[in-house]
């Protein structure tokens, strides 16, 4: 950014051209007071405390409303200005409730001391007779006290400008004005509890509820910067620790990916760490009952059993599930363990069940199975397609970028069979019937081609086969006329045209593709079709244009990056690559023959092999397949058949019920390491609190088992040493170290220590062998599972904002369960009418695989004939109903499409 010289009180300052005067002054150590300004918000000019004198301007001007210009002469401090500020503060204090409980930062109080107004003899105004303000404590997460509100607008702007939610406003006016959420009651408003307003409130007007009685800012032992443990956005948070416990979580301002923003889970979802239900001791099942044992006994027993089974049935009989919740360091050690101690590549994890198809298609077509672009591009692009991605609920902070873009005029195309909150911001919403994505995308491709909205130059230069390959695609999509596409998908012709026109004509466009696309038996084809559209329109390989699959879990990206994959070593290098195996063997200090070269089994295949008696022992680290796997009745049988199951977790789960040994692990707040977020950003995780009882870091547990199995890993002094080893076998992270991540994350690929990281992929070439992208023309194939007279509905499943995956963490937070904690089934009003079902009525849902009972929620959010259920709830396990039929290319299961029937339960 260009710099200009300005002069404040005679001091020469090098300021950013067109920067905000108040911001620039403070950045240069000139502490002009002010309460309504915040660098994330547009200037308000309400408190008038930042008044200055500027040569050439009349009177006093609010510095927060001025733009820096070369040569500007500013007086920030003189007697008159300081007296004026003291007068205004004196005024402000006269309308304020000055009680302070030490639980929040109070910027007004700080100024009160600075200007000597803490002493009543220095005050000149008697308190104004206060209006009859009422505290609103109806929200599950915060309370608002109007008597401490200075009416600075920061909360309103936090909600509007930062989070794009527009929930807050003023009621009444003048001296009687106060903030209201929605139409007046916070708990009944659309506020979703992200707490951005709490973070930006300069006084004690808006304060968070958790730990209200406990927290004292002067007793905070440490503030630890780390990465949020929930979704894959990778928000940077600061944990406040008091008496050895986390008492608050704030967003870290000024660093990507979140720039201080958090969602309700990131701000309030830490309570599970200190849950009394945490596992604190190793447990061995003896005569059917779990018995607390010492670490030595547990570890010896595990090593002994694994070796015994390996000897008896061979390496093929062992497998491991890594964890998208654990750090890169944990996962790296885990895959190393499976490959060396088990001697097989039977390692996989839940990524198989989420974006495996996306990754498969992207690897083949463009060369990397990760986001092509950076999170900021979601704000700065002209157009966004969100397909099968409920981004506001599943990736709330990525969604803030989208909403800010929408406020600036970005056009949004939502493709989703179910209404999502993003529809409220969308230019057009295409609502295809479940499982018809390929048809819809082929129809859009045909429309784009028919109107000449393709990028011929891009196709010729950057697509394998150039126009010839394009013509093959053109021929294939010929039959997907607008009318045919409408017939196949149910999306009206006009909407297909509109969407194609917006995308085809946008100069830049991003695509966010989610589980709705990937979790189908045609998952890989869905993404191929999407990539075909992106490629012919030339909307990838440049800034603000590309495809980002937002990742579901905190480290689902990283676990694959570091080799938790049956066919890939760390850094996406195929297990068959002898050269790489040689290098890895050297680094690991083992003979080349010790490294298995055949791809192992994938998640669902492991479970099927267990069912068939081929897998005898399974080591699960931080996963809960008894909720997350498809066709749970089958999974349950499979787990029961295992001769030996080790589950390492932080809580008892539905899966630990079947374990022979349960090991207590450290939670994310109790360990050091790194996560990789959705835009390939490697981010630090730092230990904030001690583990409860005897719980240990995952990698240390694995290390011990390895040792006891005769496999000697180096004795790592700390996690940074593990990362160094990891970097030496993971070329995309070769230039990264813990030290480099101290202040901010780095986006891979980062091949050398002086490489800054890569925010946008494919600027010069694609990561395929030819360096060009590849089109994969695909036909629409009708789903094998379809509605029948016996099972007349198609059931979709997914996540909601307040809960997370199998609920192990999120359901142990009172703040989150305070919003919602009940499973439900969404049904279209017309269907409910036909079945004679009332809202909230208890029903049984039955598929060919299993059944469950839950309450009905009647809503036009779904199409007639389609249903939706969140899958977080153990009391209504959606995956009792789903299938384990797999996408042949990626082995993902079709969580999004199950034929069911719904029956009333007469009680």
């Amino acid at each position: 950014m260009a710099k200009v010289k300005i002069y404040i009180d005679g001091k020469e300052i090098l300021a950013n051209e067109n920067g905000n005067l108040l911001y620039e002054a403070r950045a240069n150590g000139i502490d002009i007071p002010g309460l309504c300004y915040h660098h994330k918000l547009s200037p308000t000019g309400a408190c008038r405390l930042c008044l200055v004198k500027v040569e050439g301007m009349r009177g006093l001007v609010a510095s927060c409303t001025l733009t820096v210009k070369e040569g500007m002469q500013v007086t920030a401090f003189d007697n008159e200005l300081e007296e004026t500020r003291r007068f205004l503060l004196d005024y402000l204090i006269s309308e304020q409730n000055l009680e302070y409980d030490g639980t929040y930062n109070d910027e007004l109080r700080d100024l009160m001391f600075r200007y000597g107004l803490d002493k009543s003899e220095n005050r000149h105004f008697s308190p104004l007779s206060p209006a009859k303000f009422k505290i609103d404590s109806s929200s599950p997460v915060l309370s608002y006290d109007p008597s401490k509100c200075i009416k600075c607008f920061r909360c309103i702007k936090a909600c509007d400008e930062v989070q794009g939610k527009n929930v807050l406003s003023f009621n009444e006016r003048g001296i009687n004005s106060y903030i209201v959420a929605g139409t007046g009651v916070w708990g009944e408003s659309e506020c979703d509890g992200c707490g951005e307003c709490i973070q930006l409130c300069p006084t004690g007007a808006i304060v968070e509820k958790p730990n209200r009685e406990k927290i004292k800012l002067d007793k905070i032992e440490k503030r630890v910067r780390t990465t949020c443990p929930y979704c894959g956005v990778g928000c940077q948070i600061e944990l406040l620790v008091q008496d050895g416990k986390i008492v608050r979580s704030n967003g870290v301002e000024g660093v990507l990916p979140n720039n201080g923003r958090l969602c309700v889970k990131g701000r309030f979802g830490y309570e599970f760490v200190h849950s009394p239900e945490r596992l604190t001791s190793p447990l061995i099942r003896k005569n059917g009952a779990l018995v607390e044992v010492s670490w030595d006994e547990a570890l010896d027993y595990i090593a002994h059993r694994f070796l015994e089974i390996k000897q008896k049935y061979g390496s093929d009989s062992l497998a491991g599930y890594a964890s998208a919740k654990c750090t890169n360091e944990d996962n790296y050690i885990f895959q190393k363990f499976i490959r060396l101690a088990f001697g097989i590549n039977n390692i996989d994890y839940c990524a198989r069940l989420c974006h495996a198809s996306t990754v498969t298609a992207m690897l083949k077509s463009i060369g990397d199975g990760a986001a092509s672009n950076s999170i900021e591009d979601f704000e700065n692009t002209e157009c966004l397609i969100a397909t099968g991605n409920n981004i506001i609920e599943t990736h709330p902070i990525t969604a803030t970028y989208v909403k800010r873009g929408a406020a600036k005029g970005m056009k949004i195309i939502v493709i989703d069979p179910k209404w999502t909150p993003l529809v409220q911001y969308a230019t057009v919403w295409l609502q295809p019937r479940l499982g018809t994505d390929v048809a819809l995308l082929n129809g859009m491709i045909r429309e784009i081609i028919a109107n000449g909205w393709i990028d011929t130059g891009f196709i010729e230069q950057r697509v394998e086969g150039g126009m010839k390959a394009f013509l093959e695609l053109k021929q294939l999509v010929e039959k997907y006329t607008l009318e045919n596409t409408e017939k196949l998908t149910g999306v009206p012709v006009e909407k297909i045209k509109e969407a194609a026109e917006i995308y085809g004509n946008a100069k830049t466009a991003m695509v966010a593709t989610g589980m709705g696309m990937s979790q189908q038996v045609t998952g890989t084809h869905n993404v191929f079709s999407l990539l075909n559209m992106i490629l012919i329109a030339g909307k990838i390989g440049k800034e603000r244009s590309g495809i980002n699959p937002p990742r579901g879990q905190n480290n689902v990206q990283g676990a694959t990056d570091v080799g938790c994959h049956p066919a890939l070593y760390p850094g996406y290098i195929p297990v068959s690559n002898a050269e790489n195996r040689k290098h890895v063997a050297e680094v690991w200090g083992v003979p080349l023959d010790d490294l298995p070269d055949k791809p192992g089994l994938t998640t669902v295949e492991i479970m099927k092999a267990a069912y068939d008696g081929k897998i005898k022992a399974l080591y699960i680290m931080g996963e809960n397949p008894m909720i997350s796997d498809p066709n749970l009745n089958h999974t349950e049988e499979a787990l029961k058949k295992l001769e030996f199951l080790v589950v390492q977790d932080i809580f008892h789960t539905e899966t630990t019920k079947f374990a022979h040994v349960i090991l207590p692990a450290s939670s994310w707040a109790e360990k050091n390491g790194t996560f990789v977020n959705s835009d390939r950003r490697v981010l630090r995780v730092r230990k904030a609190v001690e583990s409860p009882g005897q719980a240990r870091e995952d990698w240390k547990i694995i290390h011990e088992i390895a040792k006891r199995m005769g496999v000697n890993f180096p004795s790592y002094a700390d996690e940074s040493e593990i990362f160094d080893e990891l970097a030496s076998v993971t070329p995309i992270m070769a230039g990264i170290s813990h030290k480099r991540l101290e202040h901010h994350g780095i986006q891979w690929p980062c091949p050398t220590p002086d490489h800054p990281g890569t925010s946008t992929l494919y600027l010069d070439k694609f990561n395929t062998p030819s360096g060009k992208a590849k089109l994969f023309p695909v036909e629409y194939v009708e789903q094998s599972e379809r509605a029948t007279p016996e099972y007349p509905f198609i059931l979709n499943s997914g996540r909601i904002l307040y809960h997370y995956h199998t609920g192990t963490m999120s359901r142990r937070n009172k703040t989150l369960t305070g919003y919602t904690n009940q499973p439900y089934l969404l049904m279209h009003p017309n269907d409910a009418k036909k079945l004679g079902i009332e809202d909230n009525e208890l029903v049984r849902v039955i598929s060919a695989r299993g059944h469950l009972s839950t309450h009905i929620r009647i809503s036009p959010e779904v199409l007639e004939g389609e249903l939706f259920m969140p899958w977080h709830y153990t009391e209504s396990q959606v995956n009792r109903l789903t299938r384990d039929e797999l996408d042949p290319y990626s082995r993902i299961a079709p969580f999004k499409l199950s034929a069911v029937r719904v029956e009333k339960i007469y009680t």
Binding site: C47, L51, T84, L92, I150, I175, S177
Partner: protein, 416 residues
Amino acid sequence: MAKEIRIALRNSGLINPESIQEYISADGYQALRKALRSEPIGIYEEIYDSGLRGRGGAGFPTGTKEKAAALICSNCEKFVVCNADEGEPGTFKDRIIMETDPHTLIEGMVIAAYSIGASRGFIYIRGEYELSIKRVQLAIEQAYQHGFLGENILGSNYNFDLEVRRGAGSYLCGEELTLIESIEGKRGYPRIKPPFPAEKGLWGAPTLINNVETLANFPQIILNGAKWYRTIGTEGSPGTKIFTISGDVNKPGYYEFPMGITLRELIFDVAGGIRNGKPFGAALLGGAAGTFASEKHLDVHMGYDKLKEVGLTLGSGAVIVMDATRDLNKIMLSILKFFKHESCGKCIPCRVGTSHLYQALNEALQQPHFSFESLYPNLIKQAEIMARTSLCPLGQSPILPLRSLWENLSESLIMK
């Protein structure tokens, strides 16, 4: 006795305000016809040369604003807004124009819009003005039917659409940037200034915003020329002004006179003198955000500059007359109560200051004895800081009545 000259009110009472035919018969829309035949530059230069100043109260040269809005960009979206949110106490001139001759306003607006290149306009009318809203709306419909609004106006290829927006009872929405926020559908809070509306106004586009009376002068200036206009009124304040006289006079009402008429003429000749034969006490010029004149000001010429010379303001043209028996402290109190009630609360000095001013005077007036000598200077000191630090004109206003009352009429305050 001074002679009334009607420009803005030239048709008032003479034609049926609901008949466009009668307006047309009275040379209506002839100025528009003439304007559309000339280049836009000719129009704003004419207005500039006429010396017309904003009749809403601030008295800013209209031509300067118009020129700025015309020249800031070409082929870009622009708006013309009419400020008809007449809220200054004692002021009802705009209402009279809208009720008795709405087409004059519409004609003025189309001329103004054409001169800056705006294709869309809004008339923001005070919500309580039911009859004004009805008549302006009817007049807009008629103007569309007769081709004075809409596409290809009078065959000129110029298009202009006009619609009415209703205010909802906030005094502050008469402040131009707040009014613009309100049209945008937002709550009426003042914006940071600069940028001025001519640079960034409605929806961020260059916007010309003028008062009803100002725009009602446009047709006659265009028809008769700037030179003619300058023959009326004074050098610094050309033209006429509508004065709305209320209070303790025998003939309250609205009167349009050339600028430069004296206060004495207005009160004693035009408005028939003080009621019940009582002696003159004071006159509040320009409403709540105005100034108190005393007997010594009776021979001041009513014009922007002459009044400024003696520390008074013309404002909206309201003249609220008080006989010598009135308790000016109570009148001041009601003014301060008004500001407290109307303060939006956005900035600290206005939100808190308007309350303190009211509270201090109110408490003093409850006492049997209090010291004026310490009270008023203290109120004035606070109001001065408010004026220097407030975000918008509302917080900058209480100083006007306070200081003028204390400077001009302190003796009658103390005597009470």
